[in-house]
Symmetry: C2
Subunit: 489 residues, 2 copies
């Protein structure tokens, strides 16, 4: 019998990344999940960028709009046609409603053409589809660091593409610069890697920040100059909760077109990735979107969408929901308010115990700075600290290394996948941990002095925050009043 | 500026196949769709393997089971958890219900392990996922002809795989033989193409036949001897409407395991593709399944399923529906009855005008033999005849060449995507067309004689069939009483 590898190289390799050590936190959570009464000492899941804060608004809308479901007496007459519909253009009302929603999220300052909306299986499918359209195996995309770890799976695993990091640094609040772009591009070229595009994540996961207009324009100029694609992943666009507001690449494009004379950008290079999983909080429904200004990419991505179409049952529900403009406007405002409140609670809770985090205005997470707690400024020390946080503090946060961060000591802390009470428990644990750490690390003499002053101060400050939060959670606008702990398999 | 190809080779190539001439029929239908009253001379769509005959049973179940929907008052308490659930293992009740359904379809003669059920975006996604798991670019799968044209897109487009045809012939009712397999395998080897697997489609699209136990065992022996994978695409398994019944590869496996001593097959080589789109008639819901006996393939395919998960809204509906065993049993029996009745109507309608079709017992189509109507035994002549059928007879059937059939003159005729009345109109058109053809083709003298005899006989026979059908459609068991014409885009 001929000796040969039975499976593909993809199946035999580890390009998916799930076997990396970064999944240890998930394993710890899965084996010992926190529950306020059943398992109060369990691990709290803060590694999941899930938006649960306003799902009650979605649920309320669904309960008030039975006609939106093909399974209700009011919507059943659509059942057959919907069940049979498999056209990869999608239901017309779905693409129209999604385009309109994308406009609303961008403050109605831009227009989206529904015929350019291409469906995919979540942002995961959208990223891969676009990668298959834009580049060949061995070619690369530039990606500013830190970046979402799933990019490696989505953009490279089955496509054979490479990601070339563009290093951003804390000294500059991780801002993307032209110099960093040029430097990464040159490095790739030197290694004989053809760069085919630049991927921007705006708002950023894990930073929780938005790209400003100047950076977007600079990035677009860069892509245009190099004749490479600019992919803007805007899946967190509706999580922006305070100024400066979100600027979509679509606005830059529209401004350029509306400007004097011809648009000097090659629009064929510009593409947007979108999804409803984060902004509306229903990742289970698998609604991913590719929006491209390039006709050939729209046509090709649409053909590829056959591998991950959105269920028509879900298309119809989403179409009806997003066509309700009053609901959409109310949801966007209230969701932003709740996210802002939760973010403030977490950032202030951390600050109260002297832990910094990157100032941000978006996302379902904050970027926590624990550099001062590292034994040394290395990723080994970061990993060591992370294991302590998981196994002793019992919080599953995500280490910066998993986001390809260039500097050790940063951690992503997700805060929108839990209720207020759980968030408070998490902050209390961090408070206690930081206090313990300080006790251990300073010498006895300074420790005594610090105990009388510093620690007391921190504890008082933290207690004040806690009291405020508890007061506030009694208000009728509190997003959740009961513990929300789910068994994720 | 550096000159380079802006998009990928995949995007610039035509591996998708949609631009092939075989889409002419779809275009003709799209631009002039038949409607009994609004457009009675339009094109009837017989190129779509869609199962509409028993969707009313599904709809009825949905109307009677509001708790199955997360959008109903009875099911709304599941809304949040379902909307948030994105675990690629799927909802447990979903994988259990699908496994149970697969058992029921196979007459409860086999067991399926729910933990081996992997989701995908329809059979389209399932085929591609499995291809990505099993083989590397340039490697090949053997596929008996004629085969489903979508295989080229699903198995080769983005994966870089090749398909090597295994030629089957009408002289043998297109039966697959060991000799044909060996010959295709040897030919590939001679061309330095590494064969990695054999894909069987059982029941066959387009043949409408099932593979018998001996052929399945022979195929499994072949795969095992060569140490290549055996992929069984069983997406039409519940469309079998008469004896000989359907034999799944799962039965062969189970028998082998249960047999004396060790199973001599390498189970790591055996994989099943499944879907609910054909058997239950809801392609819009995008429920595809990979079932593998190979643990590594299950694990890898599950990771890949992130690119095309089934919407949890749909998972929950399907789980509830397929858990209702009384419904499932009733549906399977009634659906088979209706398909058998429609198939008989079409086959008899064709036979009545002297048109043959391959004897079959499954599928949503029959394999029509128009070899006698070809000007010459060539694919050019087939294409010419096809264009006449589309543009003059106004039926969008599919030519054998699009299925990689080795012999010209065969056409796939789909019959389950329409109501009885439309099917009758289609048969009338074929009747008239065949009659006209004969008039033209025979010489005047013989034509006169034939007119008095043959044609009259055909017309009478056809009229008798029509009367029978009309009578039967008045019965309370008629699947559809009103015209069912949908606007597809």
């Amino acid at each position: 019998m001929e000796q040969m590898q039975l499976l593909s190289r993809i199946a035999c390799g580890d390009g998916h990344g799930e076997n990396s050590s970064f999944f240890d936190g998930w394993k710890a959570y899965d084996s010992d999940p926190y529950h306020p009464t059943n398992n109060p000492h369990g691990v709290i899941q803060m590694g999941l960028a899930e938006n649960q804060l306003s799902l009650d608004l979605v649920e309320k809308w669904v309960s008030e709009n039975p006609q939106a479901s093909i399974c209700s007496p009011e919507g059943l007459h659509h059942f057959k046609d919907t069940a049979l519909f498999q056209d990869y253009h999608g239901l017309q009302q779905f693409t129209q409603a999604v385009a309109r929603f994308m406009e609303k999220v961008r403050g109605d300052r831009v227009r989206f053409d529904p015929t350019r909306i291409v469906m995919s299986g979540g942002a995961t499918g959208a990223q891969e589809t676009l990668a298959f359209c834009l580049a060949d195996p061995g070619e690369a995309l530039l990606v500013p660091t830190p970046y979402y770890p799933g990019n490696d799976r989505d953009l490279t695993w089955r496509t054979g593409l490479k990601l070339v990091p563009v290093e951003c640094h804390s000294s500059d609040d991780f801002k993307l610069t032209r110099q960093a772009l040029e430097s990464a591009f040159a490095a790739a070229k030197k290694s004989d890697i053809r760069v085919k595009g630049l991927l921007l994540n705006n708002p950023s996961n894990p930073l929780g920040t938005v790209l400003d207009r100047e950076t977007l324009i600079e990035s677009l100029n860069f892509a245009n100059d190099k004749n490479i694609h600019l992919i803007c992943d805007e899946i967190y666009s509706a999580t922006v909760f305070k100024r400066p507001g979100f600027v979509s690449i679509a606005e830059i494009v529209q401004d350029a077109i509306a400007g004097a004379g011809d648009c000097h950008y090659n629009l064929d290079l510009i593409h947007i990735i979108y999804s409803l999983s984060k902004d509306l909080g229903f990742p289970g429904f698998r609604v991913g979107i590719i929006y491209s200004y390039n006709d050939a990419v729209v046509a090709c991505a649409r053909k590829m969408s056959s591998f991950g179409l959105v269920s028509t049952q879900t298309q119809r529900l989403v179409a009806a929901m997003l066509s309700d403009e009053a609901f959409v406007e109310g949801f966007l405002a209230e969701s932003a308010r709740r996210l802002g409140r939760r973010r403030a609670m977490v950032a202030e809770g951390l600050a109260a115990v002297g832990v910094g985090s990157l100032p941000g205005n978006a996302g379902l997470y904050c970027w926590m700075d624990l550099r001062k707690l590292l034994k040394s400024a290395t990723f080994d020390a970061e990993l060591e600290l992370w294991h302590v946080i998981i196994h002793e503090v019992k919080l599953n946060v995500s280490p910066g290394a998993s986001f390809h961060c260039a500097e050790p000591g940063w951690f992503r802390v997700c805060f929108a996948n839990m209720d207020d009470a759980t968030a408070m428990v998490a902050l209390e644990r961090i408070n206690a941990f930081v206090a313990r750490r300080r006790e251990i690390e300073i010498d006895i003499a300074r420790k005594k002095q610090w105990r009388r002053g510093g620690k007391l101060e921190i504890s008082l400050s933290f207690r004040r925050l806690k009291d405020e939060m508890m007061m506030s959670s009694l208000s009728p606008h509190s997003p959740m009043s009961s513990p929300l702990v789910r068994a994720r398999n």
